[in-house]
Symmetry: C2
Subunit: 380 residues, 2 copies
């Protein structure tokens, strides 16, 4: 039979057919009349999904590019910045801010730890900008961004949030929590291919950007904001992704954000229950907030890359391993975006099969039942 | 009947159905096994199309973003840079280099003029980098990049070429002409949607980049080069565009680059012949090299934006007006990428129809015949 493929990575994620369909439409010009309506709708829907009254800026870039727009617009060399990290992406932002000449205070937790807002409170004094990660995709930790932001605001700092894999999956209240800058990518819970970075920017952040001297052009916020205000684009946008995002955001808003958040909580519980039932150990926290990606400690005897390749080649199932210092030590199952319970039972069956094929001793034929039970028990 | 739409802009351009088809494929992970083969093929095909032995780096960005990678990697603040401009994009690069702290000598021609390599020769002394535009999409001028590059090399400068709309349309010999950096975008003659910037980088340019202190992260060449060498990606790539580019480059190489260049020359001649036959005046040069876009002086009595909107709404034909100082004064017909003679006869008929509807006095019913005659006469 023709092969079936299953993508269970924490981004890029699976794409609904409604999104795929618009990607293949004949080209339109992003400054022509055919683009105006979907573009205006995307900009409006993004505000709803980010829960902000302010502009959400679009860049043709990855999430890292969009995050760099925050560093490039907000960094005045020599000024203090606090970066809170507990994994690969937080450490990347500390590196990036350092390269841009910020005087970086790096509040660095071990990978897999959850940042403590009390620590941030103690370290935020004197910082012009505080960078925090909402969903640390490398570990599965989702931090208490509301409390971290409050600590930063108490110190008078601007708060920049890496919400690349959290927007649309777990609650992120841009305006209510006072988040000055919230960065997201199209290819995570927003169910769109990679290629668009999304950045909400508060008036205070825009004002700061007007004062900083760091050179930037492509990622300049003011230029992009001015263009978007006229439904123009400063530079040619990735048109298929904008059209796809329009459709995907429509699907998300039709489900309802609260319903989507609940679905992610239930899928997270189900996945963790299945993993634990096999006798495996979680590397991501066993708590409801961490509903984006489940990270699993690889048993000592497992060669993770061989295991993952076997799942791809034999079963058509794509999971992913660890990044950086967790490379070879964990594997990750994404459940953000267009995921339902059947995706997770498939992923769990595949993990079970692959581990058994690799000769790892696990409990067999219990994971799916445990996952389904947890999923049902979590019904609100 | 269902409306038909015709996109005749100088980028984004029309997409062959073979390219559209792969855009709508289910998501794959850019670090998974399914991506390796098309990715490796794209990197190889890009070298063929750029005519270089060196790496062509991929960025998820527009062409401007890719060009900024050159400025960010090569600028040491205070060092002299010569920017040769004769239109919107050249002026953008002068602005960009200035913002990055280069000591910019701006050799600025009036819009529509063709840069003279003798002038560049006289001004290049002392410049660390010379920035030139191959195809100035805002005017239709294609410059003699070979001679401009020779002038820069004589002065010991690195040469950066904006070939965003020229690669695949007109001859650009990256290695043979000693072009250190050549920047292209996916959405022009490469027949792929916008979202990928492509940058070939010579060893000398890479060596210079290792010495410059300008902050950059997303657009850092060395980081991207190292990742590509392992068939990895430094940051998540716009997967649909990479898959589309693979197919599009295959189509272009199957046609053959020389055949594609000849086709563009013939389409340029045909378009200019048709425009002149109507009694309109060209704003782009009436020479074979300028085979990418034809720019037409708008008759005084014409409201260009009303005319263009009428073509869109009444005929489904999308042309585009002028940028910057040529806004309202010209309109442009693209003929780069997936264009054949029928596209141009359609465009000419639409222009004729739209001008007549706007009450402009032109010669009627002669443009298509003149275009076809020029097209045939140009057969090699």
């Amino acid at each position: 039979m023709p092969e079936k493929h299953y993508l269970f990575t924490p981004g890029p994620t699976q794409l609904p057919p409604e999104v795929l369909e618009v990607l293949a439409r004949p080209a339109i010009h992003p400054r022509g009349p055919a683009f105006k309506q979907p573009y205006e709708r995307v900009l409006g829907r993004l505000k709803e999904v980010f829960r902000t009254e302010h502009d959400v800026l679009l860049f043709s870039s990855s999430g890292t590019g969009a995050f760099e727009s925050a560093v490039a617009n907000l960094t005045e060399p020599g000024e203090r910045a606090l970066v809170v990290s507990s994994g690969s992406f937080g450490e990347r932002w500390a590196d990036m801010a350092t390269r841009y000449g910020a005087d970086v205070d790096h509040l660095r937790y071990a990978w897999g730890e959850t940042p403590d807002p009390v620590d941030a409170q103690a370290r935020a004094a004197g910082a012009a900008v505080v960078y925090v990660v909402h969903s640390e995709t490398s570990t599965g930790v989702v931090s208490d961004v509301e409390a971290l932001a409050a600590a930063a605001k108490d110190a008078g700092a601007l708060v920049v949030v890496d919400a690349i894999s959290s927007i649309g999956a777990v609650q992120c209240e841009t305006d209510a929590w006072g988040l000055d800058v919230v960065v997201c990518g199209s290819q995570k819970a927003l169910m769109t291919p990679p290629g668009l970075g999304l950045v909400s920017v508060s008036p205070a952040a825009l004002a700061k950007a007007r004062e900083t001297s760091t050179p930037r052009f492509y990622f300049d916020w003011e230029r992009t904001r001015e263009a978007q205000a006229k439904l123009d684009t400063s530079f040619t946008l990735a048109v298929p992704q904008v059209l796809g995002l329009d459709v995907a955001l429509g699907l998300l808003l039709r489900e309802g954000l609260e319903a989507a958040f609940e679905r992610h909580v239930r899928l997270g519980r189900a996945t963790r229950a299945g993993i634990k039932a096999m006798g495996l150990e979680l590397a991501s926290p066993d708590e409801d907030r961490s509903a984006v990606v489940t990270t699993v400690h690889a048993p000592d005897e497992l060669d993770v890359s061989v295991f993952l390749l076997d799942l791809c080649e034999r079963l058509g199932v794509q999971l992913i391993g660890g990044q950086g210092e967790w490379s070879g030590k964990v594997f990750r199952i994404g459940h953000l975006g267009w995921f339902d319970i059947f995706d997770l039972t498939t992923a769990l069956v595949a993990v079970e099969d692959g581990l058994a094929a690799a000769g790892v001793e696990i409990e067999r034929r219990v994971a799916v039942a445990a996952a389904l039970e947890a999923y049902e028990a979590a019904r609100v």
